[in-house]
Subunit: 241 residues, 2 copies
DNA sequence: CGCACGGTTCGGTGGGCGCCGAAGCGTCGC
DNA sequence: GCGACGCTTCGGCGCCCACCGAACCGTGCG
């Protein structure tokens, strides 16, 4: 190169992207999109490499600012550094999702279906469930899309009724629309999306399936969603009792 | 790997990110963020590699869906595939921009300053100028941020006065906030941001500096911005006559 | 105290890929 | 038609990096 990075940023952009440009690191980051903290060993098994390899990858991701590490006894817990990283990764995943990876095994297929049905996306809900909730909120006039995504006055009182605080957060946007990589449709994110997701867990509307990002709607959750949003429970079939 | 891509998407995510993970390809994509179409030769010189190398990189980017190609005589014009790609790239660039690449030469420094001052970001305005316009519009009550970014009723009539159509576009969001990688602050994007930028070019408020993404505010533009938005012209110093 | 376990570090190996120059192909202009 | 020009293809070179197993370090448990 005649002039090192003449217009600025290309080296920084490339090195940041390089952190995601490896299949193993991509698997690690996608796993951490569930918003929880994983250990190195868990990440290694999840992504199918030796622990030593995973440890090195994790180092790179931490140095690159994508992951935050926290030591506890002989464990090292890894989580995504912040919501910005999660949002950026989701946006790349959405762009990449145009052509979904081929599925070869039956078990992979069922897991994929569970994920497509309902899952957490960092700290809010995605999949059919997330989109359905967002659509229902729009239908009921709780969200407005006509010029950017907003919560209506009705929406604010609806949230308050659920006991969800609508106080303005710091830098983080109040509402944000997040494009789903399975549905290719927007769903609710931002502080409101996160609060709604947390409430759904706390109130027992949903629960995690095993240790994946997938969640299942409980019977109680089905009733609550029908009552609060008029959601048809039949849309939300699937395993939890 | 025991199970090819157990939770889906990691291979797709990695291969998409790999397209940005090379310094030359990153330079190409960043150049195309100006929203215009470049030839292979221009991109090669810009990124400092042989034409043959650039040609191969461009092939990869087109195959990956990041770029759209159009043949015209013996030229091949490249542009970003669509606004989604631009938004995703900007978001990665913003994440990567936490630590700006070191600047080594004086000319690089002045170019960088011009870029930081005012530039196009795909099809809207960014840099100090873009942020200043966005801030001024907020101050005047044309934009509201309290629960997501929206155009107020006053804002709509203000845009109409400028002759900017506020009809709802297709899938594309009406307004969108785009995080600037030099300012680390949000500025106006979406169809409104694009329309405003086009208007600024058409009305002669701004003009391109050479063939870069950087733009300069004209004297006429300074007056117009002061009149329409109360912007202090001294903030917008810099070269155009 | 000693073993089990989570994690890290280190060589060595192999494959992938970015780079170039040369040769070839199609288009434009004289 | 012929040269100039924009672009593409190909072969070869060299570097980088993802991977593993083995050795090592620290913590927790019996």
């Amino acid at each position: 190169m005649p002039d090192a990075d003449p217009y600025g940023g290309s080296a920084a952009l490339a090195s940041w992207a390089a952190l995601l440009a490896d299949r193993t690191r991509a698997a690690i980051v996608l796993a951490l999109l569930d918003g929880r903290a994983w250990t190195v060993t868990e990440l290694a098994r999840h992504s199918g490499v030796a622990v030593s390899t995973a440890s090195e990858h994790v180092d790179l991701l931490v140095d690159g600012g994508l992951l935050a590490a926290q030591r506890q006894g002989r464990h090292r817990y890894l989580r995504l550094a912040d919501g910005d990283v999660a949002a950026t990764v989701e946006s790349v995943a959405a762009a990449a999702g145009h052509r979904p990876a081929p599925v070869r095994t039956l078990s992979a297929h069922s897991r994929r279906r569970a994920l497509a049905q309902a899952r957490t996306c960092y700290d809010h809900l995605a999949g059919v469930l997330g989109v359905a909730i967002t659509d229902a909120m729009t239908r009921r006039g709780l969200l407005a899309w006509d010029r950017g995504l907003t919560v209506t006055a009705t929406g604010c009182s609806w949230l308050a009724e659920l006991g969800i605080d609508t106080a303005p957060a710091g830098r983080r946007p109040f509402v944000r629309s997040c494009v789903d990589w399975t549905q290719r449709r927007p769903h609710l994110a931002g502080t409101v999306g996160a609060a709604l997701c947390r409430h759904a867990f706390d109130a027992g509307w949903i629960r995690r399936i095993g240790s994946t990002r997938a969640v299942a709607v409980t019977d109680c959750g089905r009733d609550a969603l029908a009552h609060h949003l008029g959601l048809d429970g039949r849309l939300l079939h699937g395993g939890a009792t």
